[in-house]
């Protein structure tokens, strides 16, 4: 297996995640796209860990998984709060800060 096949797969998944973050309106779907991007980063970590024969990539992939879980918890709490205040989970209706 060549290293690049994993890296290019991860890059494609990351770009699909970027598209999702930019194009989705619903807050839960934006969080899902962020998860896609974090998964792509994890694939990179594991691929480099196998390529460099080092355990550091595996350890940091575990850290990323943990932080992704924390991020989903806080993110969904924020989306719930937006829903409760605006009666809608759509992020483009959050515009109180607009002058």
């Amino acid at each position: 297996m060549i290293l690049n096949q994993f890296l290019v797969l991860a890059a494609i998944l990351f770009c699909i995640g970027v598209y999702g973050v930019l194009a989705r309106r619903n807050g839960v779907l934006v969080l899902m796209s962020v998860e896609l991007m974090l998964n792509a980063v994890n694939i990179n970590f594991i691929a480099f860990s196998a390529y460099l024969r080092s355990v550091a990539g595996d350890v940091f992939a575990l850290f990323v998984i943990t932080i992704a879980a924390a991020e989903v918890g806080v993110g969904l709490a924020i989306v719930l709060l937006i829903y409760r205040n605006l009666r809608s989970p759509d992020l483009d209706r959050v515009e109180q800060l607009k002058g």
Partner: protein, 171 residues
């Protein structure tokens, strides 16, 4: 080597199609289920790279916990299930241009920099690779070299979960 490559390509195609499903599906529950496919595919890629412990952590935390959280989020925000309302905003074309541009830049850079570098998996090098991904080896590393980041991450997780409860509860 050929077997691993066949598995890789099957998984890669499934993952990319499911990822496009996540960002394009008109039904929000289908998006969450497509995300399961992407994450299971990523776990299978970790198995291919002999990172067995990370693969099972991925299955337990992502597919087991994070997807359930997403489904709860969908339920609690009473998201439209019918697929008739518009889940996308009106910057779809700009988003597509940005992501295709980013994919071009990243792909060019990766191919220039890493070219045809191999991950050696045959013979003694394969044995070494199998040893690296083992849970015992990972635990040794986490509790010696990376013990401070590990503790910091656990405090961060605690703080984030307390914060989530504080933000989400009704007063």
């Amino acid at each position: 080597m050929v077997v691993q490559n066949i598995f890789f390509w099957v998984l890669a195609v499934a993952m990319v199609l499911a990822a496009i499903g996540v960002v394009r599906s008109p039904n929000i529950v289908h998006s969450a289920l497509y995300l399961v496919v992407v994450m299971a595919g990523a776990a299978a890629q970790y198995i291919l790279l002999a990172a067995e412990f990370v693969a099972w952590v991925q299955v337990i935390i992502y597919i087991g916990a994070v997807i359930i959280l997403f489904l709860f989020g969908i339920m609690l925000t009473r998201a439209p299930m019918g697929g008739d309302t518009n889940l996308d905003n009106d910057q779809r074309w700009q988003a597509a241009v940005v992501s295709v541009f980013l994919a071009g830049v990243l792909g060019t850079l990766l191919i220039q920099e890493f070219g045809k570098k191999e991950i050696a998996i045959s013979g003694a090098k394969g044995e070494q690779l199998l040893h690296i991904g083992k849970a015992a080896n990972l635990a040794d590393s986490i509790f010696t070299a990376y013990v401070v980041p590990f503790e910091v991450v656990s405090i961060l997780l605690l703080a984030a979960l307390v914060g989530a409860v504080v933000i989400a509860r009704r007063d």
